[in-house]
Point group: C2
Chain length 331, copies 2
């Protein structure tokens, strides 16, 4: 088996975030699931967009955000995801390539358009996401570049994308390709509702030893394990994956790897402007250390530093020089 | 003549800004006109976009930015500008309507696409703009809602749009409609290169008394009057327009109205993040006072406060609650 030429290849939703500030009252009036992610169809997306204030468009997508952070930290990355042949697709492709990430998934002609996520950001910094999946849900297994997947040390998969059928098939195929090549598979659970719908799949993958690195937050861990107690949930999963990373928002995060456990508090932050991408960038920071063999505690620390950067501004793509920031904070 | 039902109606470019940070070296390497606005064709736009880092899309357009500020300050506004039938057109239309501004110019089918401005923001906060005018330059005189123009106290025109032929005809027609209805005409010179190309038109309009309020910056005033000395330039124009507003960046701004002169220093600001829209928001602040009959000095002060807000963040549309900000700073 050849040495990997890429650090991380990710499969995820190719989404442009449409973000606007919103008052608490608007969240209630529009019947939104505050703090969560809800899938919306064309009609509901239009209704919500019409109700939204003046917005900004910033590329997003959970795994793509993670790669943006990883690439900024010096990792060699590639992305696989489906955009349509339209302006938002061009925006997504530009932004990910401009971040130094290889992206060559063929665009998809015709309807539906490129995915977008309508994000209402309340004064407390919490983001409420409403995702129109569009072209993203039609990523076909045929779009996978299997040689590229086999060339990456880590295959990183986004749980959100397990929901639609074609990308789920594509991800199952990608897992087989990566394992065949002796690579590691990382999986982020993304959101409790995904686990509610596909928990059996995820538990089976974990039991079968198909997942090497698992990223969850507290709520997702509870949904996945059926344990409302955090430590009980950790105990149930930690022995079945090589690395478990569990984030707990303001309570910090823990990681368990081969029986070793490390913890990190949340980084101190002035004001939480927008939590969009906090988990994604935590994963980016963690993996940036993991791929170069740093100790578990440092990997967590890097995750916390990157998550802290992303919640200090609008949007889920890093603005600060992450490499410099991590170097400064770690020293 | 009926009382105006609108405070300001503006005709301007309907543009989405594509903004990214850039190093000084990139400005030189790409041969950009630092601090200025350059028109670019499809090929050059693609070349510059390819060279640009990960970006954000935020609605822009000089006059549209001014209206966004004015509407946020409570003025009743309408916008006339040409978008194409595409996603960036939808973004522009959404953002301006979401700001409470009436916008009903019919979209234009087919090529070219909606205008975009590729903006490179250097570490000093200076913006270097490269505008692909696209659909914006094809605003036809037939798209004018003449009854709406006649119903607004002020018709506000963007100099940038004097360059392409169809919008120039539309603006000439709009001036006639406004004057016929006994309304005021405001004109922003926009950029020295526009005056270099169309200075004779502008000087003729001024001589003929077609312009009631003229907004210029120091450089534009010099180009317009041929006077390198600021005061000589002011002296040459001030007697020919009812209100002259001349901004001088960090040196503040002056206004002369019917022989009365007022001055204001620049507002103190922590860090200049991005100067995009500074002039546009100065005009917004000034007009917000003018339309409600505030003293000249207060109009200038409002302009300075709004300009200060816009340069403290990315993008040319206000983020803070301008009404609250102006009320606080004026008190």
């Amino acid at each position: 088996m050849a040495d990997p030429s890429l650090d991380v290849i990710a499969i995820g939703n190719a989404i442009v975030d449409v973000m606007a500030p919103a008052e608490e009252a608007a969240i209630a009036r529009l019947g939104l699931n505050k703090g969560g992610m809800t899938l919306v169809d064309t009609t509901r997306a239009q209704e919500l967009y019409d109700a939204m204030g003046p917005a900004k468009e910033i590329s997003g997508g959970s795994a793509a955000n993670t790669l943006a952070g990883l690439a900024a930290l010096g990792a060699k990355c590639a992305f696989i995801g489906q955009v349509a042949d339209d302006q938002l697709g061009e925006v997504f492709a530009h932004d990910i390539r401009a971040g130094g990430i290889h992206f060559a998934t063929p665009v998809r002609a015709g309807d539906p358009p490129t995915a977008r996520c309508l994000i209402f950001v309340t004064p407390d910094g919490e983001r409420t996401m409403n995702t129109f999946l569009g072209a993203s849900q039609f990523l076909p297994p045929a779009a996978l570049d299997e040689r590229l997947i086999a060339s990456a040390a880590i295959l990183y998969l986004e749980g959100y994308l397990w929901d639609p059928e074609e990308p789920r098939s594509a991800m199952r195929r990608a897992i087989a390709v990566a394992r065949e090549a002796g690579r590691k598979v990382a999986f982020t659970a993304s959101e409790s509702f995904v686990i509610e719908r596909h928990g059996d799949d995820f538990r089976a993958l974990i039991e079968e030893g198909q997942i090497d690195l698992l990223f969850v937050n507290e709520g997702e861990l509870a949904t996945l394990t059926g344990e409302s107690d955090f430590e009980a949930g950790v105990a149930k999963v930690a022995s079945k994956v090589a690395v478990l990373v569990a984030t707990r928002s303001a309570k910090g995060a823990i990681a368990v790897a081969h029986g070793e456990r490390a913890e990190v508090p949340a980084e101190p932050i002035g004001r939480v402007v927008d939590t969009t991408g906090a988990g994604d960038l935590f994963a980016a920071g963690f993996l940036s250390g993991y791929v170069v063999g740093r100790p578990l505690a440092e990997c967590l620390r890097r995750g916390a530093i990157c998550a802290c950067e992303i919640i200090s501004h609008y949007g889920a793509r890093p603005e600060a020089d992450l490499r410099k920031l991590v170097a400064e904070r770690l020293s």
